[in-house]
């Protein structure tokens, strides 16, 4: 096989996979009309997703905020400008770090579990059994999961933003000599200066996390539903789900930032 054929095959497979995810997402959105029937199951999924990833999200967010404050503070101290440390930490957490950390953790914990669960159902004919019973697997299995992560990712992002800023404030006080009051005042001012009810720094980050949550669920469910070949296939599906979710989180993170801060 020559290299052109090999590259062509890989590109075709990737395009096929991307098309499948888009189709799955669109069909999940259409399936939202049956939400009253799936509401209870969706809430259960959301609760499980949130509870399962809350502790690790908060721990990572606290340390990410602390690292951010420490690294930035070391440089700011050289210029004697540590008063803006709260501003920088708050903006970085809300615009980028909070949604990113939450997205990556959800991809690793909940996304992988969704891919494994649906992959196991696929290889053991449970998904086919639903089709045979005239039950749409998108409506029954995928839509509640997409909705659950679309709800939980922004919720966890708000918490990780708060905890991250709090982690930064501790380091600022303990290691850089910035009083906690000064840190929080500058952080609050940075997030409320636009004068709107919900400042851009907040809603841009929340929109980003909404996109991340939806993407993780769609990519993970698609990986699970395309699994084949027994346990090995399920393992590969989990691997693909986490890898593709993280790549898309980074790409979409860039695109959304660009849209909000350079285009809109």
């Amino acid at each position: 096989m020559n290299i052109v054929t090999a590259v062509g095959r890989v590109v075709r497979e990737r395009a096929d996979g991307a098309g499948y995810v888009c189709d799955l997402l669109l069909r999940s959105l259409v399936a939202l009309r049956r939400l009253p029937r799936r509401w209870r199951f969706s809430l259960d999924m959301a609760f499980n997703a949130g509870v399962r990833s809350l502790p690790v999200t908060l721990v990572v967010a606290a340390f990410a905020g602390a690292i951010l404050a420490l690294q930035t503070g070391i440089e700011l101290r050289r210029f004697g400008d540590t008063a803006v440390l709260g501003t920088i930490t708050a903006l970085s957490m809300c615009r980028e770090m909070g949604p990113f950390i939450t997205g990556v953790i959800l991809a690793a914990t909940v996304g992988s579990s969704m891919a494994a669960e649906l992959g196991t159902m696929k290889v053991s004919d449970e998904v086919t059994a639903l089709e045979v019973m005239s039950v749409d697997p998108i409506d029954y299995l995928v839509m509640p999961r997409v909705l659950a992560l679309a709800l939980m990712c922004p919720t966890l992002t708000v918490l990780s933003n708060l905890v991250g800023i709090y982690g930064g404030s501790i380091v600022a006080e303990q290691n850089l000599g910035v009083s906690r009051d000064l840190f929080w005042i500058s952080a609050r001012e940075a997030l409320t200066t636009s004068g709107t009810l919900l400042p851009k720094e907040i809603y841009a980050g929340l929109f980003k996390s909404l996109v991340f949550g939806t993407t993780i669920a769609a990519v993970s469910c698609a990986a699970g539903l395309r699994a084949s070949g027994g346990a090995l296939g399920v393992g590969l599906a989990v691997q693909a789900a986490v890898r593709n979710s993280v790549i898309l989180i980074i790409i979409f993170g860039f695109v959304i930032t660009w849209f909000f801060y350079f285009l809109a």
Partner: protein, 242 residues
């Protein structure tokens, strides 16, 4: 009546069905046998519309299955039950909830009637004691019986059985065979049974077909095939072939 005429199906370069022609008359149990990989399960999946043939005709009651739109396919599937090898139960639903699933999803009946129907089916397959248990906590034979109750709960006209006794001990297998015969006799359901088992074939079948090279190698009644000199029939139905 289920009719397949000159059906071809390949996966990549591997040809599975090569001109399969098969008729399953109404009210009978038809057993389909054959070596592994000759397309027995693939045949079932064509009948229920999960797979499309590359060429040929698949008809159920005169309707061409591959030509059906989504809605027609859904309607056809409501008239059919399918028993998977391992039962294919949903793990987070109890036995009773699994059996009730097709009725609940289609909103066919009020809740009370669904409960009555579910318990009637569970009694039929001797699973009423296990209604509240979950699939991971029950044995393979119980999963199959629950799968059979789920396949029957919508009162289908046809049931497709995919290896109904795979991996089961002879006692449980015999129970499943008796259930399949009961289903035909009491509910007047047409059955197409895919199996490797001589015991299953001779116990359940009205007619038997054996696949060879992607098409029907031989077909006949149980007596005809059991006493046949045909080497294919002897391999699958001769004494000691189990």
């Amino acid at each position: 009546m289920i009719e397949l005429h000159d059906v071809y199906k390949a996966f990549g370069k591997r040809e599975i069905l090569r001109g399969l022609t098969l008729t399953v008359p109404k009210g009978l149990n038809f057993v389909l046998m054959g070596p592994s990989g000759t397309g027995k399960s693939v045949t079932l999946r064509h009948i229920i519309g999960i797979l499309q043939p590359d060429r040929g005709s698949v008809r159920v009651d005169g309707q061409e299955v591959p030509a059906m739109n989504h809605h027609q396919l859904m309607e056809l599937r409501k008239r059919m039950g399918y028993l998977f090898q391992n039962g294919a139960l949903i793990n987070w639903l109890s036995v009773a909830e699994n059996v009730a699933l097709p009725l609940r999803e289609h909103g066919m009946l009020p809740r009370d009637e669904i409960d009555d129907r579910v318990h009637e089916m569970l009694r039929l397959v001797h699973m009423d004691q296990a209604a509240k248990q979950f699939p991971p906590d029950i044995s393979g034979g119980m999963k199959l019986r629950c799968g059979l109750a789920r396949a029957l709960v919508t009162k289908p006209e046809y049931v497709l059985y995919d290896e109904p006794n795979a991996g089961l001990d002879p006692i449980i297998s015999r129970e499943i065979h008796e259930l399949i015969v009961d289903v035909r006799d009491t509910l007047h359901v047409t059955g197409l049974i895919v199996t490797h088992s001589r015991a299953c074939a001779t116990h359940c079948a009205d007619r038997i077909g054996i696949l060879q090279d992607g098409r029907l190698g031989i077909e006949g009644t149980v007596d005809e095939l059991v006493h046949s000199d045909n080497p294919l029939a002897r391999d699958f139905l001769g004494e000691g072939s189990d």
